[in-house]
Amino acid sequence: MEIPYTVEARPDTGLYNAKVGIWLFLASEVMLFGALFSTYILLRVGAPEGFWPHGWLNIPVGTVNTLVLITSSITTVMAWASLKMNQFGRFKFFHACTLCLALTFVGIKSYEYHDKFIHYEITLNDGKIADGHLVKKTADEVVISGHYVEDRKELFDLRASGATHEHKEIAIPRSQIKKMENYGPWHSTYLAIYFTLTGLHALHVIGGAIVIGFLWGPGASLWKRDPERFTNRIEISGLFWHFVDLVWIFLFPVLYLL
């Protein structure tokens, strides 16, 4: 006996097996990200007054990335529709666009990550805090491009003041440094949830891109042997891609705007 409904739809459910499978998988993904978004809410509600960061992320960069992902969702649909219309060449073109957009997204995201990792908060022995991006680090001193603050609280809400701070090069002798920490996940719960959420999302983007890349490259030979089955695969991978896109649609306002 062969396994039925691997390609054609079962009459009473109207679905082929893999489509049921991917929707179930996405349901569990909703629960996964749902738990992480709940974590975000709980941490934010529990943060002391004035210590939940605002304006730490670059909104224009985030907006560009949002547009990149939305466009990639459109090209994904177009790629699938091209197969439905039996236009394999157009499929190749559109999914090539999807792949380029995916790589662009990951590239922009890694730029943003890098920017956080070279951003340092340095507490001096006299209690002053220097905050800025690392210029150079030697055995005796640390040079950052940034500014001094008296109260740590000033670092948390940058919506108004962030742009107006004058950034100058500050050289700090190592002997004066009490604590030096970059803006990695260990810095605060905001950055912790930021890196976890966007990192997990980026893993989904990379995983999706690998699958789409396989179907675009070596996996595309299935089109000649079993076009219907191949089209189904593009549909399934597309559904996953839309989900990944949708997660970002939530992530962007939650992390960048609110």
Binding site: M1, T13, A27, S28, M31, A35, L43, A192, F195, T196
Partner: protein
Amino acid sequence: MQASSHAIPHPHLHESAHHEEAGFWSKYIFSTDHKVIGIQYGFTALCFLFFGFCLMLMMRWQIAHPGQPVPVVGGLLESLLGPIAAKGIVSNDLYNSFGAMHGTIMVFLAIVPLAFGAFGNYLVPLQIGAPDMAFPRVNMASYQFYVLGGVVMFFSFFIPGGAAQAGWTSYPPLAVAIPTAGQTFWLAGMVLLITSSLLGAVNFIATVIQLRAPGMTWMRLPFFVWAQFVTAFLLLLAFPPLEAAGVLQLMDKVAHTSFFLPTGLAVGGNLANISGGGSPLLWQHLFWFLAHPEVYVLILPAMGIVAEIIANNTRKPLWGYKSLVYAVLTLGFLSFIVWAHHMYLTGMGITIATFFQTTTMIISIPSVIVLTCMFISLWGGSIRFNTPMLFVMAFLPMFGIGGLTGLPLGFSYSDIHLHDTYYVIAHFHYIVAPGTIFALFAGIYFWFPKATGRMMNEFWGQVHFWASLIFMNLIFQPMFAQGMAGMLRRMADGGANYSTARVPDAIGGLSPHMLQLHTYILWAAVGLALAQIPFILNFFWSINNGKPAGSDNPWHSTTLEWQTPTPPPHGNFAKAPHVYRGPYEYSVPGHPTDFTPQNQPD
């Protein structure tokens, strides 16, 4: 591709396997056949069940005789684990490790894989008349992730500092603050196990929705399939939040974030070097959001097995099939909104506690419906008391005891006294040990002839049953008394420090009688271990030497798995089955036999 892969072993599997043993490897190790995968799950899970049981025996020794070397295996323990087991003594740290890993192994590596992975895999496609699971290779991957998770968990015993020590619940900040790497292994192992059960759950649900044979309508599904179907939904939707929580705790452990670490946390008297601002309660919510539905993951497949065996051995239709189906669906839904009854003592307002008390009391209604239907099913039947049926008959009152003793824990006011005591241990072990495990034993005895073509020995089966029943009760019954006397769980000395023998006028101290019970429990546990010897020997001996089953359907059952060749070949059915009737048409008046298989035309 999946469709073709079950007829011929897939080529790339051959390449990855050893060439000289290609047949063995592709047939038993990299198999995509649901029955082989089911047996793989079953065998691995039984090994972990035994391992988890051995951990418990050593813990019981330590509780009964604190600080004395473990007899027989003490030397081995020291040579394997090093200083943590110096002189063959289960040190306090090692006791904590054993406790945490006993829970983890029993729940995630033994019972669930046995109930869901093994029985579900083997039986669900057969019972719905399908040739295999919907995604055979995903099924194989599910098993491989499970093994990988098990290996990580097992290996963690041998790293410096030993395995995780913060309990199977892994509450932070303790779990994060313990400086050894055991917890990191635990978290990595959990992520693998969760991946495994996710793949399994997707596969089960898709299979039941898509691959039911023609005529197999929803209300003609055997109750076992319904139970597995709901179980799969619980795994699908409840496990991801724990995966999220596991990732977050892994971040706390590895990337030094503070998701679960509060501001001002002091470890060993020093302020921890962390950003703080996290919430320990958050872990508990995420953990119990999984772990309460997990309770039903443990019990629902067992109920499914019990229902099949009752109907078969009473030779009567299951009483209230529809009520059972709706009850199990209700159980599944409600199990998502009761989780915080595990947290009455960790801080929540009266209003929230009231909500969770209410839902907890409501969820006992469908459980009682299930149990009642099964009891009434016995009424007026001419019952065949074979080994599977004996285990099932014991399941009913044992699960009843476990369920009813849960009610005082569901109310916040009585829970305050009983929380974290041996009462809780006794309560949930009654559900899982003489409950679920008895149902699993029943299932093994019952479906053994289908998988092997031979029966297990009836006499030694009954010896196994009666001895297990007696010793199970001798182990867990005294714990109710200890718990009500206030003995806390998770104490490496079994509460000797709180004994009135040590501090005579201590208020609420433990009387020596309560501590004396530890010795009885230890010997009962040893008795339970001995009681498993007939089972193990019977199991392996019967594979090749048992009495031949005589037919494909030795129990005269109605459901589809018995209407196949024995053992079922790859692809299951000789010809595609068509279903004409409900699952339990036993003793239909006017019918020549006392059972009518589902695929028999009118």
